[in-house]
Amino acid sequence: MGMRAEHTADIESLLAHAGWLRRFAAALVKDRDDAEDLAQDTMLRVWRHPAQDAGRAWLARVARNLAVDRFRATRRREVREQAAESAQPSQVANPEELVGDAQIHRTVAEVVAGLAEPFRQTIVLRFYEGRSSADIARGLGVPEGTVRWRLKEGLDRVRRELDARHRGDRSSWLALLTPLVPRPLPGESKLRPPEARTPQGFSLAGHVAVAVLGALVASTVALGIAAHARRARSTSTADEPARTANEAVLGPGKAALVRLNLANQAAHAAEIGAETAPGPERLDAQSLAEQLLQAVQDNDYDAFVAKGSAFFRAAVPTGGFASLSAKLGTHLAQGRRVSPLGSVRHTRTVDWIFKIEFTDGGDDALITVAMNGWQLAGFFVDDPTILPPEK
């Protein structure tokens, strides 16, 4: 009771100073958003570590210290980024570029998928859909500061979980997080991701999607993709039949895989174990693959998402699907042969892999139907991105 009363009083006290604190923070840092963040952080810090007299003098001191910390962190990051840039040979794209805009290891996506709400939703909207904090705040009907706090807390949880999974070896997964940081557009500061960013291509399907399934070795996989991506940026890709649908859906510079969803967080290892057994499940997966391809061919969004989990349905944007359908539908309509290749075990899903041979003579494609128990958790289309750029 005592603690509760004390905190309530603290909050009231802090709120009373909120307006002043924002102005004070604005005086410490030039950027308006930085000032807002600083004010929020100060409030949080003071609330978590209350002093006897949490008056303005104490708030000012905390705010100043945090501002200094931020400045130092920014400087350190600048130095690291400059060092990283100078270490890269000019002909070779940096890792961030190599992985396109958003390829993260599947594990990262799974960790995100496993986050509690509202953190998962906020992270997905911000980093996978590319929506600004302001946009998210409007959409969810919460203050922008709340969104920023959720982002910070959500990312902290992701880091902790990844640390735990990698036995504290942060270097092994750190690079994979890079795509979570929106890439600055030309002319934008690297230190401050743009708040307003138009999602490119598939939004979740183009970001997580690629990313998630991308589960690539941030290095190796990136190779072909990067080369391909660089070429795609500089040349028109619209008329090249060899570049099949998924690439077009992802847009120039995007990578190899189209993943329409994260794994369903409700997955259970035992269910997955059962799924790996040969038997009717395989037939179901193949049947499902056929149905999904047919839905793509028919541009039937409802049919496409009908078999998916709630998260799958929420994650597949109609615009992205229409784009996929426009590109792949004609190809599929000419006729195809779908052959099961086998299954691949993942933490939360079992992926059923199929090869598609097109009657029109187009390149073969690999599709993945990710199943979580009996539910469809993801659908991927893989195209020939591991190939080198055409000379």
Binding site: V92, W173, L213, V217, S219, T220, L223, A242
Partner: protein
């Protein structure tokens, strides 16, 4: 008497059906020895964390694009589990951009997840590799 041949057809048909069902659903055939050998060498190179060994069978394209830093990043993800052993399951071959792409599943008792590996071969060299 005229119906007797059909009596032989029944067990024959049953045998055919049995044979069809007994085949693996993803009968992938056999991986070309050249490609499988290259993949095995690459996996061993990841286990040994040897950048040079990894690129021993690589074509110019792959050599040009794979930095040591990238390779080390990959080792950070897979070396530990691969050292506990692994099995390869050949999934089949794709035809993409006029090249042969070979697909395997790599499973390791030390890993919670399998990985799918695509290997692009060109003129007897590994020209691209995708792990996901």
């Amino acid at each position: 008497m005229k119906k007797q041949p059909f009596l032989y057809l029944v067990p024959a048909l049953a045998l055919c059906l049995l044979a069809a069902y007994a085949r693996p659903a993803h009968a992938a055939g056999t991986a070309p020895s050249e490609a499988e050998k290259a993949l095995t060498k690459m996996i061993e190179a990841v286990k040994a964390e040897s950048y040079d060994a990894f690129l021993a069978d690589a074509g110019a394209n792959l050599k040009k694009q794979l930095s040591r830093q990238q390779f080390e990043g990959m080792c950070g993800l897979y070396t530990k589990s691969l050292k506990q052993g692994y099995t390869l399951e050949y999934f089949g071959q794709l035809r993409q951009r006029g090249m042969a792409i070979y697909v395997w599943k790599v499973s390791s008792p030390g890993a919670q997840e399998d990985v799918l590996v695509k290997l692009a071969m060109k003129d007897g060299k590994v020209d691209g590799v995708l792990v996901f």
